[in-house]
């Protein structure tokens, strides 16, 4: 069965929020692993052969077998180590469906609207992407209400679950959005539940252990933006 021999390797890049998701899941399950920081400008053989389709991080390698795509990795960690640490997905099938729905929402609406903020070249395009992301986050507030169902403080109820991990991986970047664009993505005035969630999440040991320093993320994103602007200037 997968995960028996304890040889887990995570290929990642320090700033990637998707890698952070994998680290959070591994931390929750108390699973030891070897972390390999990939140089995305000079990708290793192992990396390229483990993720030939996308050539992106994270890649989890379990006893030589690669798993790609952060949400797939997190679900794999939950599936492959059932007796180890807490479950990330709820036990009830309907609650699982609700969790999966909101996980998909985060990918399809929040992340998809937001990614262009870091890729586009004009301020107008960036503002539009931010606007769409804010709108998506406002809907997610409803998701947190539905998932936590009065039971507790997280999408997973009393404790961190699948959706918390997927959103949690993004937290340093969520916080970085304000210094980078002038807009708070999670604003207590507009999305009080999510704002409280973020505070609560950041207090957890796993967050303290795993989340990137926000200033480092801001610096990284600014450098990225400068490079993009420079290449635009050269066109």
């Amino acid at each position: 069965m997968a995960g028996g021999n304890g040889e887990l390797k995570l290929l990642g890049m320090w700033s990637s929020p998707f890698v952070t998701r994998a680290k959070l899941a591994l931390h929750i399950k108390c699973l030891p692993y070897e972390y390999v920081e990939e140089d995305l400008g000079n990708k290793s053989e192992l990396f390229l052969s483990s993720n030939p389709v996308y050539k992106t991080v994270p890649v989890l390698i379990d006893n030589g077998k690669p798993i790609c795509e952060s949400s797939v990795i997190v679900q794999y960690i939950d599936d492959a180590f059932p007796g180890v640490g807490p479950s990330l997905l709820p036990a009830d099938p309907y609650e699982r469906a609700v969790a999966r729905f909101w996980a998909a929402y985060i990918e399809d609406k929040v992340v998809t609207s937001w990614a262009p903020v870091f890729r586009v070249k004009t301020d107008e395009e960036r503002a539009e992407a931010v606007r769409q992301t804010v709108a998506a986050v406002e809907v997610l507030e409803g998701g947190l209400k539905e998932c936590s169902g009065g039971k507790g403080a997280f999408f997973g109820g009393d404790s961190v679950g699948y959706v918390d991990v997927l959103l949690g991986g993004l937290v340093s970047w969520l916080k970085a959005n304000e210094p980078l664009t002038g807009t708070k993505l999670i604003d207590a005035a507009k999305t009080p539940l999510l704002a409280a969630w973020m505070e609560r999440f950041c207090e957890l040991d796993m967050a303290k252990a795993v989340l990137q320093d926000v200033d480092a993320v801001v610096e990284y994103a600014m450098a990225l933006r400068a490079r993009l602007a420079a290449s635009a200037g050269n066109n």
Partner: protein, 234 residues
């Protein structure tokens, strides 16, 4: 299935997402009321069951809605399981991860460019999207060999998760061939997928659920018109 289980599926015949959900229910052999929605006049039930997206499919199980096609498929797989009931997702965690990876690939990489062929506003754009689609199908041709391990479907002997994810698009792949003479799956370029597509189409569940290709062609023409109109009004 327990007595008094009420299953209702809101869908549209030509929607690949509704096709996935519908086929999953048929594969499980459970009885389900299929309600065809008029997308230009969505029912109160649809709007209240899927307030976030207001889209089909929506599965309503004993009054509780489940939305998003792959979420529905996984839910149906988990709720209706046991001796003699076919499984849609594999039980092995690694195989599940591979299945989830390829289903996500279909939705994230393949579907958007496939749809782009129909929504293209110029011939040049259509050719671009077709080229991208032909590139996007190649990893799936390779994946079939790896996943099927010589058997009939991505999942093995019977239709599974990735089969549903990609198979639900076959009607549109054929519609695109008829509309634009663009062959996404062909015996010469994608022989494995070509043979798999035939087997998929011959399955009992596909025969029960898949609409006539001409329905998709008609719908495609409507989408084309809507896309042009939207562009013209900008």
């Amino acid at each position: 299935m327990a007595a008094k289980e009420e299953l209702k599926l809101l869908g549209v015949d030509v929607s690949p997402f509704a096709i996935r959900a519908h086929m999953a229910v048929v594969i499980k052999g459970v009885s389900c009321e299929y309600v065809v929605e008029d997308l230009s006049n969505k029912s109160e039930l649809l709007l209240s069951s899927n307030p976030v997206y207001k889209k089909v499919p929506v599965l309503i199980h004993n009054g509780k809605p489940i939305c998003e096609s792959l979420v529905i498929v996984q839910y149906v797989d988990e709720i209706f399981s046991g001796d003699g009931v076919p499984s849609i997702l594999p039980t092995d965690p690694y195989e599940r991860a591979i299945a989830r990876f390829w289903a996500a690939y279909v939705d994230d990489k393949f579907f958007p460019v496939l749809r782009g062929i129909v929504l293209a506003l110029t011939e040049q754009e259509r050719v671009e999207k077709a080229t991208e689609t032909l590139a996007a199908i190649e990893p799936l041709e390779e994946a079939f060999a790896m996943c099927s391990k010589g058997k009939a479907f991505f999942s093995g002997d019977s239709i599974g998760y990735v089969d549903l994810a990609l198979g639900s698009l076959l009607v549109w792949i054929e519609a695109i061939r008829r509309m634009y003479n663009i062959e996404i799956i062909s015996a010469s370029k994608t022989p494995r997928l070509s043979a798999w597509a035939e087997r998929f189409g011959e399955s009992a569940a596909a025969k029960e659920v898949l609409p006539e290709v001409d329905k998709a062609v008609q719908f495609g023409k409507m989408l084309e018109a809507a896309a042009s109109a939207a562009a013209a009004s900008k």
